[in-house]
């Protein structure tokens, strides 16, 4: 649950951003990352950007995320 996922800010309006994570776009609040701007890479956790990133870091963590969500899905299917 503490896994934060990286993405790029594609739209920004006030505190709210549209962040592209892999192939999908998620809404994230950027109030915790003052000065966040369009085109910034950010780490997103539970709907909030919690830190800025370089592009390189962003790509590295995506692979882990993919495996992770597949696993959680497989667990949830078992219910």
């Amino acid at each position: 649950m503490c896994l934060a996922i990286p993405g790029i800010i594609e739209e920004l309006e006030g505190e709210w951003a549209k962040v592209r994570v892999g192939g999908v776009t998620v809404e994230a609040n950027v109030a915790l990352v003052p000065g966040a701007a369009l085109g910034d890479y950010v780490l997103v956790h539970a709907g909030y950007a919690i830190q800025r990133l370089t592009q390189e870091d962003a790509e590295e963590s995506l692979e882990l995320l993919r495996e992770f969500s597949e696993f959680q899905e497989s667990l949830d299917e078992g219910k």
Binding site: M1, C2, L3, A4, N29, A31, L32, V33, P34, L43, H45, A46, G47, Y48, I50, Q51, L53, T54, E56, D57, E60, S61, E63, L64, E67, F68, F71, Q72, S74, L75, D76, G78, K79
Partner: protein, 366 residues
């Protein structure tokens, strides 16, 4: 730490360096459940770790796993108290974790209105769309997750939401590390410290591990290489007899953490004693809402008692020992037989970050 490997050394180089160190058994703990996953993914458990006699034990860094069963019971009962008026929201991971009696999924099956949210902020819209309902958010999580709820509560205050409260069941990492560092049964040689928690709290809160307990710690990322580099640092520091806290995830973790996020946490919550499932009460290891936010406190709104000690135990489930690194999941008699991800007995088998779930998933049977 004289010559630290550059940010992206190749794995072979780092492994070579590890092999160049004297072979002495070592026991480290990866505190964070996401690291447990990363270590399995790296495929080093039965190779590099076995060869170098490095034991890596999982720790308490799985929010679902450490959420007190009595709190789950509490929230499930609240959900069933007035299903026509009360809506419980929480993170999906928590749904299937059982209290002593029941899980939130069970409560839902009995007619309670339990909804999964991906972000605490979703509660705002939910409360506005359903003024006739009480929206109760079951907020678990470590420091990574806490600033989001802090921001949500500030927003709720700004909007004067009258039908939203939070059942705060946060956990703080540093107090549990102190418990682990002091446990004479554990005999740890150091910690792989959680990357994303550190994004918020920075390096300083770990300082006492090295200072007071002589234990090194490395803040690490989640790639195979990050893990191998962290192990190298830990081993090297031990050889030199110079325990420090090393930040090996500098791209994401600033020395001071995320100041804005920490300010927000501090504005909304204050530390309080908390009960960790399977571990027990740890002083000042959780959060309670500050008085200013009393109107948003589920405990006050619905007259609930805070769960600080929960003596009931868990029968044969040995999650508590797993969370303290005292045993590995396969040592539990139920592992893989009566307890599997499909039919979990304990919380450590429910969450994708749980040690039992990951030992099972990656076929690690010893």
């Amino acid at each position: 730490m004289s010559e630290a490997p550059s940010k992206h050394p190749d794995a072979a180089t780092v492994i070579e360096r590890i092999r160049a160190l004297p072979l002495r058994p070592a026991k480290f703990m990866e505190v964070c459940g996401t690291h447990t996953v990363a270590i399995f993914r790296a495929g080093i458990r039965n190779t590099l770790l076995a060869e170098r006699k490095i034991e890596l034990v999982s720790g308490p860094g799985c929010p679902v796993c450490v959420t007190a069963a009595a709190e789950i019971d509490d929230v499930a009962q609240l959900a069933l108290r007035e299903p026509g008026r009360i809506t419980i929201t929480t993170y999906g991971d928590l749904l299937r974790s059982k209290g002593h009696d029941t899980s939130l999924a069970d409560a839902r099956a009995k007619g309670a209105d339990v909804r999964v949210v991906l972000s605490p902020n979703e509660n705002i819209a939910l409360a506005q769309q359903h003024p006739e309902r009480e929206i109760v958010f079951f907020g678990i999580g470590f420091e990574t997750t806490q600033p989001g709820l802090a921001h949500t509560l500030l927003e709720a205050e700004r909007r004067r939401l009258a039908n939203f409260t939070a059942y705060v069941s946060h956990k703080l990492v540093a107090p549990v590390l102190e418990v682990l560092a002091k446990d004479p049964r554990l005999k740890l040689d150091g910690f792989v410290l959680p990357g994303h928690v550190s994004t918020i709290i920075g390096e300083e809160p770990y300082g006492f591990l090295a200072r007071d307990h002589g234990l090194p710690g490395v803040i690490a990322g989640f790639e195979a290489l990050d893990i191998i580099v962290a192990l190298y640092y830990l081993l090297a520091m031990r050889e030199k007899g110079e325990p420090h806290i090393v930040n090996a995830y500098k791209s994401v973790v600033l020395p001071e953490g995320n100041i804005r996020a920490r300010e927000m946490i501090d504005q909304v919550f204050e530390p309080t004693d908390a009960h960790w499932r399977g571990i027990g009460a740890i002083p000042m290891s959780g959060h309670v809402l500050r008085e200013r936010f009393a109107a948003f406190d589920t405990h006050l709104r619905f007259g609930l008692e805070r769960v600080i000690e929960d003596e009931s135990g868990f029968g044969e489930c040995r999650c508590g020992e797993v969370l303290l690194g005292l045993i590995k999941p396969p040592e539990c008699g139920l592992f893989g037989t009566r307890c599997t991800p499909e039919e979990p007995v304990g919380a450590c088998m429910v969450s994708s970050e749980g040690a039992c779930a990951n030992y099972f998933r990656f076929g690690q049977r010893r």
